[in-house]
Structures are given as C-alpha cells and as structure tokens.
C-alpha cells in the first residue's frame, strides 16, 4: 500500500531551507531520507519552496482568479510530501513519527487512492 506523508512546517523550517551544511534540521532530514531508502519503502516525494513562492489559481464564473501565496493561510504550511510503500497504516504512522517535521510541525498520513487513479487514467 502507498501512503503519502504530507509535511506541514512552521516558518523557521522554511527559513532553514537556505541554512549551511551543518544545520541540524537538514542533518535530520538527510538521515531520515537515508533511513527511508535503506528500508526500501521510499517511492518518491520532494520538499517545496516556501509558501510565499506559491501562486494559487481559481476559475470563478469563467474568470481567472490568481492569488499570490498559498491556498490556505495558516501558521504551518505544506512544505513537502513523501510517498512510501508500506504494509499498513500502523507502519506509516511509525515512519511519520520519525519524520523531523513531526517535532516542530505536523505530518499528515494519507493513503493514496489507486482506485481513483485507475478511473482517472482509464
């Protein structure tokens, strides 16, 4: 089963995106990524640039609405996602707890939906 870990981070985590090589948060992420790869469960994923680099598009009444910034304005913002191949939700929660973002932000675990993907891709 595949699970997405949606990683929500506070502003200081985004600020640390440009920190030097010895930054402990970067070190923690490096180690976490290595552990995911070594455990052979890493499917894919990527960190995202800070929320202010986002641009949100909507179509309302046939008119384009473009907004600077992220979809929702909250303290903790989506900072990345990781997709893991795991046998159960219990295992996914274990890995979510080990994610460095869990201690400073939040990690939402969601099963991906292969059924819906099949309907979409036909």
């Amino acid at each position: 089963m595949q699970f997405a870990l949606l990683i929500f981070e506070p502003p200081q985590a985004f600020a640390a995106r440009n920190a030097d090589e010895n930054d402990p948060y970067l070190g923690a992420w490096r180690a976490y990524h290595k552990a995911l790869v070594e455990a052979d469960i890493f499917v894919g994923g990527s960190p995202l640039q800070p929320p202010e680099t986002g641009t949100t598009v909507r179509l309302k009444d046939g008119k384009r609405r473009v907004q600077d910034g992220p979809f929702a304005d909250t303290k903790e913002q989506l900072g990345g996602f990781t997709i893991l191949e795991l046998p159960s939700l219990d295992a996914a929660l274990e890995w979510a707890a080990r994610c460095p973002a869990a201690a400073i932000g939040a990690v939402e675990v969601r099963p991906v939906s292969p059924e819906y993907l099949r309907r979409v891709t036909g």
Binding site: G27, R30, E38, A102, I104
Partner: protein, 410 residues
C-alpha cells in the same frame, strides 16, 4: 458547599475511581464476560457520583455505593442487549447473579482473572496492553491511542472488537492452571511492560513501544504483585520498572538535552525508588527461579550500583545479558549484549556481536544503529560511523535523542 469542599469531593471521586474502577469492572464482568457493558456501567456510576456526591456528601463506603449503582446500570445494559439479541438463558443467569451481588463492600477481587483475560492467547497480542489499560485502569481510548501511535478511532474500534471477542468466544475468567501458568503469566507481564515503554537509553538507543504510560504500568505491576505475591518474575518486572523510573529526572539536562545512562548524574536518581527496586529483586532471587525480567532488572541494578561505587561493572552486565539471550534472544537483548561486550572487552568484539545479527531484522531497529555508530566511531572508522549515525538518526522519533546523535555524529 464551598469551593474547597467541592474540590475535596472531586479528589475523593478521582481516588475511588482510580482504585475501584478495575475491581468493579472485573467483578461485574467475571460471570457474564461482558466487559464492555461492565465498563459502561461503572462509568455511569461515576457520572452519578459526580452529580450527587458534591450535593449529598461522599458516602460512608464509596466503593460499595459505586458497586450498587454500577450493578443497577449493568443489569439494565445487559438486559437491553439481551432483549435485542433475544438470548433468554443469559438473562436468567444474570437475574440469578444479581441476587449474589450483595451490598457488602467485601466483594471478591477478580482483577487477576481480568488481567489473564486481557492477555489471553486468543486475543491479538497487540491489544493485550490497551485492553488492560482500559478495563483495569479505566484509561480512555484516545490516551491509549496516543501512546501506541494509532488513531483514536482505530484504537476505539480495536478495543470494541477485542471485548466482543472476550464476550462471545467463551474466554474463561479464571486463573490458569499450574501447567499453563508460566506462559500465561509471561503474556500478562509482557503486556504491562509494553505500557512502560522503556527507553533503552544507554547509548541513545530508543525502543519505545507504549509511551507516557510508565506510571500506569507500575500501578498495574503493583496490582499484580498484590494478587500474586509469590511469583518471582512479578517482583522482577516491578524492580526493572522502578530502577528505570528512578532515573527519570536524570535523562534530560536542564536545557532539555538528552543524557545517556552512563553519563547521567546519579545524584538525580531517586534513592527511594532504587531501594524499593532492590528489595523486589532480593525477594525474587530468594525464590530461586530466575527469569527474563529478573535478569533485566539485575542489569539495571548494576547500573544503579554506580551511585555507590562510582563505576559500572560491565563484566557483570555482559554476563547477565548472556543469560538473558538464552531465555529471550530479542533484538533488544542482543543489541544490549553487544554494547556490554564493547564496554567490557572493547569496541571490536562489540562490533562482532552486532555483525552476528540478522540484517533484515535490524534494518529499522534504531538501538542497533545507535550502538553500531558509537562503536565504529570509537574505532576511527569514520565513513562507516557516519553512515550508521545517519541510520540511527533517521529512525529516531525523540527530538532530544535526535539532537544528541546529530551532535555525536559531528
């Protein structure tokens, strides 16, 4: 009623709830096997107590009062369910039962039977501990869910399913026969220990299963000891947990930094808890039947000895681990053994002991990588040490331990 009187009434309710909850649930469910209804009945009685005691005062015998109230509610609940399921024989049995349920405050303590039911081989081993915490101590599903890293809804569903199984699968409320007792008791001890969630903290290895439930686990072990005073392993388990609990204040520096066991300031260890642990260990060994928990407690006892002698007798620890591996060759035991070998004989033989472990089993086992990283670092094998540190850090949940390992990694 004044605010302070109200406060003391609430405290009285809390106290009696804590002490009586499991006794009442065990007693009400021991004949019908309907643990869920028994819990609901006791909860209802506590709600009534919260409403009436502040107004009418705390009754003379609070437990007897709760029993009477809970019993009434229990009969209603079970009758309701029986009518729904049209099962007259059980209802007849219950009517019979209710005659026996007297007002006497002296009702039999059936908690031991309930503990054995919770850790019954027919119940999913992963649910043994949650069931005990809920039925004997009255913890709610959400709190248990947090500790076991499961969503509260899922934990609630699993608990309900387990209780339905207890009710419908004919799991008997009884003390196991002599022949089965050692194995069945092991399951109970394991479940209590799982709630304790010991941090295997000598080399920043962390293997926490249950979390934040240490006090509840100690409480359960005390209840078990009171009910089975002659079992050396019960003393052993309690000694093990008390030794670990004694070090709680020393595990973190004042700024929140993680401090590994061998570097802890022993002045911060709790002497009364250590002494109590030693008494239980003596009591256990006087019975001449060693076991897993006694050996683990003995290892902790050697660490505690540092408070007196200033040194750690690693040879003794290594020997206890050797015995432990024979009884219980778990990943934790084998990792602990390797760490002890490294201290007693050197990093190289310690590493050899680690190399003997199964590669699949250790791939996501954090304590293994933490110990391995330290040993490789001591041997100056820098690239391999960095790699092992990364594995350990990546598997760490506790931010303080993660920071500690990142710092050691350099």
């Amino acid at each position: 009623m004044s605010a302070s009187e109200q406060e003391s009434t609430h405290r009285a309710i809390e106290r009696v709830a804590r002490e009586s909850y499991g006794r009442l649930v065990a007693y009400l469910s021991s004949h019908t096997h309907d643990v869920g209804s028994a819990e609901d009945a006791v909860s209802n009685a506590l709600v009534v107590a919260l409403e009436t005691w502040p107004r009418d005062g705390v009754p003379q015998s609070p437990e007897a009062w709760l029993l009477t109230t809970a019993r009434r509610s229990f009969i209603d609940l079970v009758r309701h369910r029986q009518v729904a399921e049209a099962s007259e024989p059980t209802l007849a049995l219950l009517r019979e039962e209710s005659k026996d349920m007297t007002l006497s405050p002296e009702f039999p303590d059936e908690r031991l039977k309930l503990l054995f039911v919770c850790a019954h081989p027919a119940i999913d081993p992963g649910m043994h501990t949650p069931l005990m915490l809920q039925t004997v101590l009255g913890l709610d599903a959400a709190r248990i869910a947090h500790a076991f890293l499961i969503s509260p809804t899922t934990m609630g569903q699993r608990l309900v399913r387990a209780k339905t199984k207890i009710r419908d699968a004919g799991i008997r409320f009884e003390i196991p026969q002599e022949r089965e007792l050692p194995q069945r008791l092991d399951a109970v001890l394991e479940a209590i220990y799982a709630a304790f969630g010991i941090g295997w903290d000598d080399m920043a290895g962390v293997d926490q299963r249950g979390r934040d439930l240490a006090e509840e686990a100690i409480w359960l072990a005390r209840v078990l000891l009171q009910l089975m005073p002659g079992q050396p392993e019960v003393h052993g388990l309690l000694a093990l947990m008390l030794h670990s609990e004694a070090r709680r204040a020393a595990r973190r520096a004042t700024d929140g930094r993680y401090v590994p066991l061998s570097e802890q300031d022993y002045q911060k260890w709790s002497l009364p808890l250590m002494e109590e642990a030693e008494r239980h260990l003596d009591e256990a060994s006087s019975r001449g039947r060693t076991g897993r928990f006694q050996l683990e407690a003995a290892i902790q006892s050697v660490h505690a000895e540092r408070a007196r002698s200033g040194a750690i007798q690693w040879n003794a620890i290594m020997m206890f681990y050797e015995q432990l591996i024979r009884i219980s060759p778990t990943l934790g035991t084998r990792t602990g053994y390797a760490a002890a070998v490294a201290e007693a004989k050197g990093a190289e033989p310690g590493l050899v002991a680690l190399d003997g472990m199964d590669a699949d089993a250790i791939s996501a086992y954090q304590p293994y990588w933490a110990v391995r990283a330290h040993l490789l670092q001591r041997l100056g094998k820098t690239p391999e040490a960095l790699d092992a540190f990364d594995r350990a850090i990546g598997l760490t949940e506790d931010p303080a331990v993660r920071a500690f390992l990142l710092q050691r990694r350099g």
